[in-house]
């Protein structure tokens, strides 16, 4: 044993979390209780390992400690139910330090856990919270801080989620083949949301908030290790890396948003771009590209260009066209309109926007106004642009976006005077 830094210990613990939880749930059942026991073992390790050193078999150590705790928890639960049997206590923790020959590979457990945490009976918020705790190994406090809610609220959200899973009667095994595509889609959606939440956090928050985009990338990498042939898993990882590559350029020194076209591209992370671009190629080779792969391909085209002017907008418009065929989502049309405007001029883009004005899904949002403003600005119609920037600023619920949109309107209005 040798002493280790807190960061090394934290990384190690997060890596082992799903395997330890999988082993415990497999042995004892009671996913919810097992999840609590694993959290306590992680806490004990994070206290002991930095000073006392990392044990020779970290996973074995965690399983042993979590099992003891699990036995206690089940005992007290049973005592509460005034039953005399202590079934769980008969299982010796040492028994499963070396898994039996029939035990499945640890990776399967991790997949089962991801599917379980993204169970359709849960709200998306609950899926996100549970995934980060049970699979990611984050504490309730860390998840709460990441989403800026009180720890008690997050604790309640997680325990309700576990109750729902228990009531659903979901056994700890792979969902039937027919259900897996939908379950995998839910998992990818959760990972995407976690990434986005981290990516949009402003630099001021970054000091106190857990690095959610880093965590999302880590979990998606892990998922890709388990499903290397799945194009959409690869596509999502590529999308995250290609987006994260621009992190250093997306806000200026004052903390204001810098739009893609105005970003200092020398600040983009080359290593991430190269890796992401390679993954896009792999994702497209895996079969007909899905939504994440297509979005990743768009991100790659942006990341490879020296400037907005030299970007391959024609190709981006074509990719959004394919995406429109897969998803009935007006946001995709908005993005295609921008690409078409960049390739063929603002009038062509504005023509694509016209049908969206009647789309009820656009009624509350600010994005249609923001895109219109941008295209009218391109077309030189300053008054219409200012009015649309103001409408967009009024309708957005994002603080940095409102600042950006108001600033655009101010600058344009000043120029018009």
């Amino acid at each position: 044993m040798e002493s280790a830094s807190d960061a090394v210990v934290e990384r190690l613990l997060r890596e082992h979390t799903p395997h330890v939880l999988g082993a415990l749930t497999r042995r004892f059942g009671h996913f919810g209780t097992a999840e609590d026991a694993v959290q306590e073992a992680l806490l004990a390790a994070s206290r002991q390992w930095p000073s006392e050193g990392i044990p020779d078999s970290p996973r074995g150590w965690l399983i042993t400690v979590a099992s003891r705790r699990m036995t206690d928890l089940l005992r007290s639960e049973q005592a509460r139910r005034r039953r005399e049997d202590t079934v769980a206590a008969q299982v010796l923790p040492e028994e499963f330090l070396s898994p039996g020959a029939d035990a499945p590979a640890g990776g399967d457990d991790t997949l089962i856990l991801l599917y379980m945490c993204c169970h359709p009976a849960l709200t998306v918020d609950a899926q996100v919270a549970l995934t980060l705790r049970a699979v990611g190994g984050l504490t309730t406090g860390e998840v709460a801080r990441a989403f800026l809610v009180p720890e008690s609220t997050m604790g309640q959200r997680i325990s309700r989620a576990k109750q729902r899973i228990r009531r659903s009667g979901q056994p700890f095994r792979m969902p039937p083949e027919a259900d897996r595509p939908a379950r995998l889609a839910a998992v990818l959606h959760v990972l995407y949301l976690v990434f986005n939440e981290g990516h949009t956090a402003t630099s001021g928050d970054a000091l106190t908030r857990t690095d959610l985009s880093g965590e999302a990338i880590r979990l998606t990498r892990m998922l890709r290790g388990l499903l290397p042939g799945d194009g959409e898993v690869t596509g999502l990882l590529a999308l995250m890396l290609l987006t994260d590559a621009r992190r250093g350029a997306r806000v200026d020194a004052r903390g204001d948003l810098v739009p893609l076209g105005e970003q200092d591209r020398t600040l983009w992370n080359r290593g991430l771009i190269d890796e992401g671009t390679g993954l896009v190629t792999e994702a497209f080779a895996a079969g007909p590209p899905g939504p994440y792969s297509l979005q990743a391909a768009v991100a790659a085209l942006h990341d490879e260009a020296d400037s907005a002017e030299t970007t391959d907008w024609e190709q981006i418009a074509a990719l959004y066209g394919v995406l429109e065929g897969l998803q009935d989502n007006p946001m995709v049309t908005l993005n295609r309109a921008i690409a078409v405007a960049m390739a063929h001029g603002p009038a062509a883009g504005l023509a694509l926007l016209a049908p969206l004005a009647d789309d009820p899904r656009m009624a509350r949002g600010h994005r249609l106004h923001a895109v219109r403003a941008h295209l009218w600005e391109m077309a030189g119609d300053t008054d219409a642009a200012v009015e649309s920037y103001r409408s967009a600023a009024r309708m957005t619920t994002s603080i940095p976006e409102r600042r950006y949109l108001d600033r655009k309107a101010d600058i344009l209005a000043g120029r018009a005077r």
């Binding site: 998306v124 009180p150 309640q156 994002s398 409102r402």
Partner: protein, 108 residues
């Protein structure tokens, strides 16, 4: 997504209690502020003679803001559903109003 639930009532603490109890249990309450009686309110505004201060609030009588809670929930529909359940069977009203955040995910 974050919403302010603005609770309007004559005086009844019932609505406030419901917000605290139900939304704590559902894991969606971020913050709850209970407001003192409207009689303690001082409202400032600019009139012809400059800034005026007067005691009392702007709300109509019988519909006073008694509390507001901040919730973190999945969607606008979910927030609306919560408000409907809170106000059900009680006098008063609950308004749902989005809160500005750094993410801002009201659409899509």
């Amino acid at each position: 997504m974050r919403f302010a639930l603005l609770a309007y009532a004559e005086a009844a603490p019932e609505l406030t209690d419901r917000i605290r109890d139900r939304l704590t249990a559902s894991g969606e309450l971020v913050h709850l502020v209970e407001l003192a009686d409207g009689g303690h309110t001082r409202t400032l505004s600019t009139g012809a003679a400059g800034v005026l201060a007067r005691d009392g609030e702007l709300d109509e009588p019988g519909r006073r803001l008694v509390a507001f809670g901040i919730v973190d929930c999945e969607s606008y529909d979910r927030a609306t559903h919560l408000a409907a359940r809170l106000v059900s069977g009680l006098p008063g009203a609950v308004a749902v109003r989005p809160v500005m955040t750094t993410t801002g995910s009201l659409d899509v």
